[in-house]
C-alpha cells in the first residue's frame, strides 16, 4: 500500500531500519533530536509489542486506531501511544470490556472519519498525510467538514480510551508521568517543581 505505514513497520512486517527511520522522522516532526541510543531503545520498545492477531478490530481498523492514538499521544521525549501498543490494548478492551452497541459505535466512528477523509481528500484516513490527519481530527472537535456532535462524542470516547491505555501502561505511568506506588504518607505542602510532572495515580 502506498500510504505511510508506521504500523506495518511495528508489526515486524518490514525490516528494522524503516522502523528506526520512522521514529526519527516522528521525532524530527516534533522538533526533537533523539540520540541514536534512544532511537534504538525506542525501536526496541516498539518491537514485539504489536499483536499479530487482533481480537476485535480488523488489521486495517487496528492500524487506523494506532495512527489516531498516536496523533493524540505522539512520541516526544518519551514513547507515544503507538510505541506502547495502546491500539493493541484498545483492541482487547473493545473485544472484551464493552457492549455490542459500544463496539458498533466505535466502528461507525472510524467509518465516518474515513468517509470525511475520502470526501475531502479523496482517500481513506490511513492514506492521508500527517497534515491531513491533523486537519481531520481538528475538524471532529470543531464539528467541521461534516462531522457532527455525535462524531465528537465518539472522538471523546476514543481519546478517553487512548489516555486510559497510555497512562496505565508501564511507559505512560513510569516514564511520562511520576509513579509512586507506595507514597509513604500524604504531604499537602508539596511544590509541583519537586516532582516536575503529574502523578500517574491521583
Amino acid at each position: 500500500m502506498p500510504h505511510n505505514n508506521k504500523l506495518a513497520e511495528t508489526t515486524g512486517l518490514e525490516a528494522e531500519n524503516p522502523r528506526r527511520a520512522a521514529l526519527k522522522q516522528m521525532a524530527l516532526l516534533f522538533g526533537l533530536s533523539l540520540s541514536a541510543q534512544s532511537l534504538d531503545a525506542l525501536a526496541a520498545t516498539v518491537k514485539g509489542t504489536m499483536p499479530h492477531v487482533t481480537k476485535f478490530l480488523s488489521p486495517d481498523q487496528l492500524q487506523m486506531t494506532g495512527e489516531i492514538a498516536d496523533l493524540i499521544i505522539p512520541t516526544t521525549d518519551t514513547p507515544g501511544a503507538l510505541a506502547v501498543n495502546v491500539h493493541g490494548f484498545m483492541d482487547s478492551y473493545l473485544a472484551e470490556c464493552v457492549s455490542k452497541n459500544d463496539q458498533k459505535k466505535f466502528l461507525d466512528g472510524l467509518k465516518k472519519i474515513n468517509k470525511v477523509a475520502e470526501d475531502k481528500f479523496g482517500k481513506v484516513f490511513l492514506a492521508c498525510s500527517h497534515k491531513q490527519h491533523i486537519q481531520l481530527l481538528t475538524a471532529i472537535e470543531k464539528y467541521d467538514l461534516g462531522f457532527t456532535p455525535e462524531d465528537k462524542d465518539f472522538f471523546t470516547q476514543f481519546k478517553s480510551l487512548t489516555l486510559f491505555g497510555y497512562y496505565t501502561s508501564e511507559v505512560g505511568a513510569t516514564q511520562e508521568l511520576a509513579y509512586l506506588p507506595i507514597p509513604g504518607g500524604y504531604k499537602g505542602n508539596f511544590p509541583f517543581a519537586k516532582v516536575g510532572k503529574a502523578w500517574a495515580l491521583n
Binding site: I73, Y93, C97, E170, L177, K187, K197
Partner: protein, 578 residues
C-alpha cells in the same frame, strides 16, 4: 498461624454465636472472646487471610488484563449491581457478592442497589473508613421533630464506648470542639494541601457556622504501641484500601478485631455457612442457635449457643430474622411489634457542586490521601430550615486534574501530552451526605415465592426518596455552590439528585434501621442495649438497629454500639438472666 479455629460441624453449645464477620461481627467476636466466652463466628462467604488473600494489592495496572476493567459479559451477568460501587473493579471483585447467586427484587421505578461483601471480614474490607461520632443532636432528632420513635439511648450512654473502640481501631482526625460532632480519641489528622488551606480560610471567614476540618478516618497516621503490637503499620497513603492492606493501616476485621479475638483462643469460625434462620425454643423463649446451609455442599447444619448476636449487615440480619418463623413469631423472630423490615434508611449522596480554582500552578501534593476535607452539618442546628428536616455534611477535596480529566478537553498531539504531564487546573468539589427521615413505607420483606439457589427466600426491597430528601438535595447543591463561590471557584457546576433513578437508594451503602432500637416494644424491635424486646438472648448490633440515621458515616457508631451491647450481654449472662 494455627488454623484449627475453622470448624465445619460441631455439637458444642457455644457461649455465643456471632452471625457475620464484618465491622460489627468482628467487634462482637473480639469483645465476647476477650470477656472469656467461647464464641462461634458464622460467615456466609469464604475465608480471607490477612495479607495472603489480597490478590489485587499492589498489582500495577499494566499487569492486569484490562487495567482493572473487566469482561463486559461477566459484569453484566454476575456483578450488575456491585459494579455501581466506586470500589468495584478487577482488583477488588473477589470481595463483592455475586449478584447472580444472591438475587433480590425491587418494584418498578424504585431501584435499590444492595452492595454486599461475601467473605470473612465482610464489608470491613471495602468500607470508606470515614469515622464520626453522633451527638445528642442526633439522638434527640426523632423526639424533636416527631419523625420516627425516640432513641432509647443518648450520647452519654455511648461516649465511653466510642473512646474504647477508637483507641483500638485507630482514628485519625483533629480536635475541634464542634457541638454537632464530638471529638474522638485521635491519631494525627491527614494534612490539608495548600489550596485547601487557602479555601478553608475564606470559607470560615465568610460562614461562621461552617467549619472545614479534615475528614476523620480509621487509618493509622501514627500507630500507637498497641497498634504495632497487633502487627499494624503506618498508612502509606496509597488509597487502594479496597484491594486489601497488608500494612494493616486501616481498620478491618482482618487487621484489627479478628487477631484480637483469635489471641484469646476462644474463637471458632464457620465459613461458607449461610444462616437460614435463628432456632427458637418456645419453652424457654430463647434463641438456641442458628440453622445454616453450607454454601458448597448445600447441606444444612445447626450450631448452638447460649446467645445469638446478629451482625450480618442491616439487610442480611433482617432477612435472617424474617425467615425465622415459629408459632410464636409467624412474621419473623422478635417481630411482635411488626416493624421488623420497616424504616429502612440510607444517606443522600450524589448532590453537590464542583468548581475550578485558578492559580496555584506551583502547588501540588504527594501521596493519595484516603480522606478529604469535611464540613460538619450546620442545617437545622440552631434554627429550623423552612424546606426540610435534618441535616447534612459536605465533603470534598482540592486536587489537580489528571489524565482522566483530559479526554473531555479539546486538543491532541505533543502539546496536549505536555499539558497532561504538567497536571491540569485545580478543582474543588463539595458533595453532601444527607440525613433521611425514618419512614414505615421504606421496607424490606421476604418475597412470597422467589428463592435463591440455596433455598433462602429472596428479599423484596421497596424504598424511595421523598420530598424532604429532594428538597435537601437541592439545598446541598445550592449551598455547596455558594461555598465554592465564596472560596473563589470559577465555572461552578451543580449536581442535584431529583429522581430515584438518578442515584438508586442503597448505593450510599449506609442502609440501616430495619430492626430499630426504641423504648416501646410495640414500636421497636430492640431495646437500648440492642437486645430484642421479645427474646432476651437475641441481640442485633449492626446497622439494622439504628433508630434514625443522622448525617454522619455510621460505622464508628456500629462499633461502639456493638462493644456496649457485648458488655451488657456478658453481664446478663453471668447474672443468669439470659
Amino acid at each position: 498461624m494455627d488454623k484449627n479455629f475453622y470448624i465445619k460441624k460441631s455439637a458444642q453449645v457455644f457461649d455465643a454465636i456471632v452471625v457475620g464477620s464484618g465491622i460489627t461481627g468482628g467487634w462482637a467476636a473480639k469483645e465476647l472472646t476477650e470477656k472469656g466466652l467461647k464464641v462461634l463466628m458464622v460467615e456466609r462467604g469464604k475465608p480471607v487471610e490477612h495479607r495472603q488473600d489480597y490478590p489485587g494489592e499492589g498489582v500495577q495496572a499494566w499487569k492486569l488484563p484490562f487495567r482493572n476493567a473487566m469482561n463486559y459479559q461477566l459484569v453484566e451477568d454476575q456483578y450488575y449491581i456491585q459494579r455501581q460501587c466506586y470500589a468495584f473493579g478487577d482488583s477488588s471483585k473477589q470481595f463483592f457478592m455475586n449478584d447472580r447467586d444472591y438475587p433480590y427484587s425491587t418494584p418498578e421505578g424504585k431501584p435499590f442497589s444492595w452492595i454486599r461483601g461475601n467473605q470473612l471480614g465482610g464489608k470491613s474490607l471495602l468500607w470508606a473508613r470515614q469515622s464520626y461520632r453522633l451527638s445528642d443532636y442526633d439522638f434527640n432528632a426523632n423526639l424533636a421533630d416527631g419523625h420516627g420513635v425516640d432513641w432509647p439511648i443518648r450520647y452519654k450512654d455511648l461516649e465511653q464506648w466510642y473512646s474504647y473502640v477508637e483507641r483500638h481501631a485507630g482514628i485519625s482526625g483533629s480536635k475541634e470542639n464542634i457541638p454537632v460532632l464530638p471529638d474522638s480519641e485521635f491519631l494525627p489528622p491527614f494534612e490539608f494541601n495548600n489550596v485547601e488551606l487557602a479555601l478553608k480560610k475564606k470559607i470560615e471567614a465568610k460562614f461562621p457556622d461552617r467549619k472545614m476540618i479534615m475528614g476523620r478516618c480509621a487509618h493509622l497516621t501514627q500507630p500507637a504501641p498497641h497498634h504495632l503490637e497487633q502487627g499494624r503499620l503506618q498508612c502509606q497513603a496509597r488509597n487502594e484500601c479496597h484491594k486489601g492492606c497488608s500494612f494493616g493501616a486501616n481498620f478491618s476485621t482482618q487487621s484489627s478485631t479478628l487477631p484480637a479475638a483469635l489471641k484469646t483462643n476462644n474463637l471458632s469460625i464457620a465459613t461458607n455457612a449461610i444462616v437460614h434462620s435463628v432456632i427458637y425454643d418456645p419453652k424457654t423463649n430463647r434463641a438456641k442457635g442458628v440453622r445454616i446451609i453450607d454454601s458448597e455442599t448445600m447441606e444444612t447444619r445447626e450450631y448452638f449457643g447460649k446467645m445469638v448476636f446478629l451482625c450480618a449487615s442491616t439487610l442480611g440480619t433482617t432477612q435472617i430474622m424474617l425467615n425465622s418463623i415459629s408459632e410464636r413469631f409467624p412474621t419473623g423472630i422478635a417481630n411482635s411489634s411488626g416493624v421488623l423490615g420497616h424504616y429502612l434508611m440510607d444517606h443522600l449522596y450524589g448532590s453537590g457542586a464542583v468548581g475550578r480554582i485558578d492559580g496555584f500552578e506551583d502547588e501540588y501534593y504527594s501521596g493519595r490521601r484516603p480522606t478529604a476535607p469535611y464540613i460538619p452539618n450546620f442545617r437545622n442546628v440552631k434554627e429550623k430550615h423552612p424546606n426540610f428536616f435534618r441535616g447534612y455534611s459536605l465533603s470534598g477535596s482540592a486536587s489537580r486534574e489528571n489524565w482522566g480529566s483530559f479526554a473531555k478537553k479539546d486538543g491532541f498531539g505533543a502539546d496536549f501530552k505536555k499539558q497532561i504531564q504538567n497536571a491540569g487546573s485545580w478543582y474543588f468539589s463539595l458533595h453532601g451526605s444527607g440525613e433521611m427521615l425514618p419512614r414505615y413505607d421504606n421496607q424490606v420483606s421476604l418475597h412470597p415465592t422467589l428463592k435463591d439457589k440455596w433455598g433462602m427466600p429472596q428479599l423484596h426491597i421497596e424504598a424511595s426518596f421523598t420530598e424532604n430528601d429532594y428538597k435537601m438535595n437541592e439545598d446541598i447543591a445550592n449551598t455547596a455552590a455558594e461555598i465554592l463561590e465564596a472560596a473563589g471557584a470559577k465555572d461552578i457546576v451543580k449536581h442535584v439528585i431529583r429522581r430515584n433513578e438518578d442515584r438508586p437508594f442503597g448505593l450510599s451503602i449506609h442502609e440501616m434501621g430495619t430492626a430499630r432500637m426504641g423504648r416501646d416494644p410495640k414500636t421497636s424491635v430492640l431495646n437500648g442495649n440492642n437486645q430484642t424486646h421479645d427474646v432476651p438472648n437475641l441481640f442485633v448490633t449492626d446497622g439494622a438497629c439504628m433508630t434514625s440515621n443522622a448525617w454522619q458515616n455510621p460505622s464508628l457508631t456500629y462499633m461502639a454500639i456493638t462493644a456496649r451491647a457485648c458488655d451488657f450481654a456478658v453481664k446478663q449472662l453471668k447474672l443468669g438472666k439470659i
